[in-house]
Amino acid sequence: MYPILEARWLAPEVKLFRLQAPLIARKQKPGQFVIVRVHERGERIPLTIADAEADSITLIVQGVGKTTKLLNTLEAGQRVLDVVGPLGRPSEIHRYGTAVVIGGGVGTAIAYPTARALKRAGNRVLAIIGGRTRSLVILERELRGFCDAVHVTTDDGSHGEKGLVTAPLQRLVNGPDRPDFVLAIGPIPMMRAVAEVTRPHGIKTMVSLNPIMVDGTGMCGGCRVVVGGKTFFACVDGPEFDAHQVDFQILAARNAMYREAEQRALAEFRAQAHPPEECRLTRAHPELAPLAAS
């Protein structure tokens, strides 16, 4: 059991958790993730480690399906059943020169620790972060704390520049300040679009892939992705890969494999849900009642 030390909302449906997990905290490096199981009948889902202190790790969770929404009902003082990690290879941190770090939606949380590590390694770090609307742009203040510049875009223009993250990237690529390295993390269409912007210029571009996972240790092969025509297991060979080599179409198709089941689980979860939020957990899983009360 992994106690929640802190839980707060960063944006609608986006919650930050600080979990006590000393072994993982000690070992983790930017770019690595954990696999989490919320309750006894729960599935195993990967979540990137957004930050770590001496004996705690920070996860930033966007509620999209049943498990993430259920997780987001938890509060400080409660516990998460299983957390295993750190998994995957850490980001490759080098002194590239000018590095652009791009985060779309909750992808910003995943890019955040790598951005900081790139800065510490002596790079000039420019961040481009985007979201559908103002409230979905996260970690802007934190990034401004150490980045050399932060560009914000929103689809509806409610904050920063109206449009997609690729617009400021295109300007940077065409401008005098041509980046030496790009890291893009976010929805698949965004990562794919970024890859197309940098490809003609031959700028090294990495993306962090989010295939469906089960064990996270290389045992099941469910997380396989095709990169440069070869198969890799994202949980052990990744999650970061060369954006210009990734087959995004296969990734998108495989990620849709359980869409029907996911929608059904979510609908049932919603049907059980009543305000206040806290009750959802115990309604769905009465065996957790004592835990939720504690």
Partner: protein
Amino acid sequence: MDAANPLPLKERMRLPRQRMPEQAPEARRENFAEVNLGLDAALARQEALRCLQCKSHQCFTGCPVGVKIKDFIALVLRGDYLAAAAKIREDNVLPAITGRVCPQEEQCEGRCILGKNGEPLAIGYLERFVADYERRVGQVGLPVKAPPTGKRVAVIGSGPAGLSAAGDLVQRGHAVTVLEALHELGGVLIYGIPEFRLPKQIVHEEIENLRRLGVEFRTNVVVGRTVTVDELLGPEGYHAVFIATGAGLPVFLNIPGEHLCGVYSANEFLTRVNLMRANEFPAWDEPIYDCRGRDVAVIGGGNTAMDAVRTALRLGAATATIVYRRSEAEMPARVEEIKHAREEGVRFLTLANPVAFLGDERGWLRAIRCQRMALGEPDASGRRRPQPIPDSAFEIPAQVAVVAVGNRGNPLVQATTPDLKTNPLGYIEADPETLKTSKRGVFAGGDIVTGGATVILAMGAGRRAAQAIDRYLRTGEW
């Protein structure tokens, strides 16, 4: 001992081998409950009466861990089932498990003299009977523990190799911690072998017995990531390490279309159902592609393939087909499994080799292109090598395919322990007797050394490792 058997030898040889009571095929293909129901006391006695108690007791030499078979059979005849179970436990700590999953036909029963002119003694059924009796009456006697030695051993992996080593090591007075990557303990016994062959409750009970003995278990620890072997031997303060991480890296076919939706490794397919209970979705959260009314093809001919294809039937598949490139005679699966699969309605497409998975426009599997094969000369494994017949391609419809053509060693531990010698296939090199690796204080055994083998061989390795580790801890000699 033979006094317990009233029958003269000739009459014993005339008795027929008892049949294992089973769930009827039509019923069991609809559920995940155990197929074999077990002998009752009357049937067990009837079967035990067949034992000739012969001097040569070949059965004993056929058992990889040397269970004293004729002694335990004699105790069954006396009706002292607990003593019979204790007799088995002297050499095999997981009898309720091996009684169900051992390939007895190749081991003890394969050597039984009765088999020369008729059917061998049903040793596996009897082992299972006494182990189940012991579980039912709740009297699993815990062995006496030696006084604490003050030494600490880390066991990596909680499959049969790790569990048997852990049990033997605590008995010798060492403090043992088992580190397991998954959230549940048991290795393949939990995530691989299905409920209908090995009820998970049995595995849980055996682990509980070890816990009562004093073994400490820590789940969610991936050695190589959460902690390294060098850290275990250094700052973590362990005096020896036993690596029993199994052969958990799935091999794919490397043919076009393997990334299509609907194509699984057997590990993933079985893990989703056995560990994550996807068959109970949505009461359990993990989904599996809905097999109901669909055509499922399983590629391979081993135990894993049989487990996967029978699981597919139970998930409601319209057709469940084994696709195997050699003929049925070469299939490595246990005879009983093939028989059970066939009774349940599994189809067998042999001498056929998949060459491509074919998808629809959305990226979903729709068919498998296969090639006909013929058997040529024997290869290194002694089995006749399958060779493609030119221009023989054909397609079979399939919306789900499960690739069950073997596993390799998971490299996480080796990759982070540079002074650990491995062979070209990625398995750890260890002395067959002492299980010592190239690194001082580190031992390895089970599938991570041998490649995919059997539960009993993994247990035997765990046992030998425990002896060698004990010697090392007491003498300090490497």
